[in-house]
């Protein structure tokens, strides 16, 4: 077990294994997102109350789920880096942050655009929306903090601590629709109950959620590899790898 974790923490080993994994995740992401999009936009029936504006759900819900998963992934990477000093965890945290911020922005934007025809307003200061806006600022804070130090290690440690502290916002987002009276509807998917919509509506949504997850994994693998090239460029195995691709043209 420990040997495995140690291996996983080695950039060289990660670079090799991720080279084999990433095409599968990219392929799966493209396939799922295409199928889910066509299904959700063209084939899913329109909602009897909301009409076709409900089709925003197929980007809003996956983005919101990803926004939170990314934050948790970033915080977990931060802990791994702080406790065991594993560099690859910090590289992952570095590349997850901007994607998580983008997904938070997509969730907020698509929510606002959905709110207009459904609630009659772009924005209300209710618990779910406000906690999500705070999450966007937390992401931006983590990104800014990382860049604010002269030494990469200090920036990495500060960003990890902020990500760890910011994780308290995650249960607040999750339970905000139950704790407070809000305009926002409760969760679409729960582990214990069947979704409150017909299968031809939630199945494409499930496919979109899986597609977003595959996209996130693929992007994180690819960009962590880039980060390895950037930070480990003086290492012998990276130099040999670069020379190798240079020879092959």
């Amino acid at each position: 077990m420990w040997a495995f974790i140690h291996k996983l923490g080695s950039p060289k080993w990660f670079y090799a294994i991720s080279a084999r994994l990433q095409p599968w995740f990219w392929g799966l992401a493209i396939l799922l997102l295409l199928v889910g999009s066509v299904w959700g936009l063209v084939f899913a029936p329109s909602d009897y109350q909301q009409g076709n504006s409900f089709r925003i759900i197929y980007v809003h819900v996956p983005a919101a789920i990803l926004a939170q998963s990314c934050f948790v992934a970033m915080a977990v990477s931060g802990v791994i880096f702080l406790v065991w000093k594993i560099k690859i965890a910090d590289m992952a945290a570095t590349v997850i942050a901007p994607f998580g911020a983008a997904m938070t922005f997509v969730a907020l934007f698509s929510g606002a655009v959905w709110g207009m025809p459904t609630w009659g307003t772009w924005w209300v200061w209710d618990a779910r929306l406000t906690s999500m806006l705070i999450q966007l600022f937390l992401y931006l804070g983590v990104i800014a903090l990382r860049g604010a130090f002269a030494s990469r290690d200090s920036g990495a440690r500060a960003a990890s601590v902020l990500a760890l502290v910011g994780v308290v916002n995650i249960p607040i987002i999750k339970y905000s629709v139950n704790w407070w009276n809000t305009l926002h509807q409760p969760a679409t998917f729960t582990l214990t109950e069947r979704p409150a919509m017909p299968v031809e509506m939630w199945l494409p949504l499930l496919i979109m959620v899986l597609g977003f997850y595959c996209f996130f994994i693929a992007l994180t693998l690819t960009r962590t590899r880039n980060e390895i090239l950037r930070r480990e460029s003086a290492k012998r195995w990276v130099r040999e790898l670069v020379a190798d691709t240079d020879r092959r043209g």
Partner: protein
């Protein structure tokens, strides 16, 4: 079964076109931009590393000639 009778009905979204397509458009834009950015980032990094190593290689050979 398709939910729309025609392609123009799909585009119109029963009057909700502006909402549906702007939300979907931004999502598609950010996902595609992230993927393309990751690819060009890799290409740039590789090119820079290759150039630097070639330069160092030549510098080393120059030194070997002098001694």
């Amino acid at each position: 079964m398709m939910a729309f009778d025609s392609f123009s009905a799909l585009l119109a979204m029963d009057g909700h076109a502006a909402y549906v397509w702007s939300a979907w458009g931004l999502t598609a834009l950010l996902l595609i931009a992230s993927a393309l950015h990751a690819r060009s980032e890799r290409r740039h990094l590789m090119q820079n590393l290759k150039r630097r190593q070639r330069r160092e290689h030549h510098a080393d050979r120059g030194k070997a000639h002098e001694s």
